[in-house]
Symmetry: C2
Subunit: 231 residues, 2 copies
């Protein structure tokens, strides 16, 4: 009969939702990071389950994972709320980034390949022209900055490092950017720092690459600290 069509259609049309609980995790993460559920707001299980068209079981499973990412805080018998971010926490995250991404730059010197290098060069080229066009700050650069760091982390070829940064801290950092979408204060300076880092990596100089990456992240942190003092 039409068993064949039923067997094929799911693969072509809407097979993207293989396991509800798993994809639900990603959708929840995106929703929280995007700010669909504001910081500090309570998350109602029945309500969310209704919105996502699932039962509370898979939703709770997804919730546990999102909790491990520190995107929500759960209190037994009370409920879950989206984490309230603070500049103090953000500064703590930057200390962790400084350590881990510094190590990533170090390891990248040993493990990066030619293709990854040219990808990075193209990326920085695009940043250059964008900055010349819009003359300074643009929202584009925020994403571009993430891409640059992302690529170097991947180039370290250290799975533990990649997992920690890209699958755990990454979401938290993105959430901060969405919530306080201040422009990167000095995109030109950041670009030059990026170029210097890439040059060190191309020169296969681990100590220099690590030092430059750490200084680059430390500079970002100092901007945030100044911002904090102004308030």
């Amino acid at each position: 009969m039409n068993l064949i069509t039923e067997d094929i259609e799911p693969k072509t049309s809407d097979n993207k939702e293989q396991i509800k609980s798993d994809n639900l995790t990603d959708r929840l993460i995106e929703a929280i990071v995007n700010g669909d559920y504001p910081a500090g707001s309570k998350i109602s299980e029945p309500e969310l389950a209704r919105i996502f068209n699932v039962s509370r079981g898979p939703l709770r499973e997804a919730m546990m994972r999102v909790e491990s990412l520190n995107l929500v805080e759960r209190i037994p018998h009370v409920g879950a709320r989206v984490v309230s971010l603070s500049l103090e926490k953000l500064i703590e995250v930057y200390a962790v980034r400084e350590a881990l991404e510094g190590m990533a730059a170090n390891l990248a010197c040993k493990h990066i390949d030619d293709e990854e290098i040219s990808t990075l060069e193209n990326l920085l080229g695009k940043h250059q022209s964008h900055i010349e066009q819009v003359d300074g700050a643009s929202y584009f650069y925020q994403e571009g900055d993430i891409d640059f760091h992302y690529l170097i982390i991947k180039a370290s070829k250290n799975e533990q490092l990649i997992n920690l940064l890209c699958s755990q801290l990454y979401h938290l950092i993105r959430m901060y950017r969405f919530q306080s979408p201040r422009q990167h204060a000095r995109p030109e300076k950041a670009l030059y720092e990026h170029i210097a880092i890439l040059n060190a990596i191309k020169a296969r100089d681990p100590e220099l690459a690590e030092m430059l990456m750490r200084r680059h992240i430390k500079n970002s942190r100092i901007l945030i600290e100044n911002e904090m003092l102004e308030e």
Copy 2:
């Protein structure tokens, strides 16, 4: 009526299992870390649920969290297995430790208080006498080593760092120690390195403390790499 007794008794008698799902997570972690479920072995949900006297619901929720800790790997519709460890992965973990614990030692210089310093001094004193007694390697030292690192991480007062190291990587590291329980090859040398690190922290010298901590962890990593080459 007897509402009072019913209200008090749970607090005194068996209130330790407040939430099944939560405590189950810890029990599962301990069981896996201790090797009750060997590396690579399959974990059956109905069987585990029976053993822990819970339903599959809370067990699955605990499972999701344990999966986030990288202690088990889950394949959709197939099941979960305890992760198979390898020296390659362990070396990757040590690179992460080098970066994060180096930063922890750095931050500890600024945030450690006198009480924490004396706790550390007492700990190292105990290690000293233990080494003199048993003349070298002892299992005791393994736990003691963890304690030393644990205290310095806490002293950093950086919640993100503490969470990452103590709540995430910590379990994985302990699991490795249980699975390949080689003695620390050079406990005397490790102790001297610990003493040097503590001295740098007492001297409030962040750069030196970080450098010494990184070298200390790097030395451990080199031991493992040599071990790997022998096989």
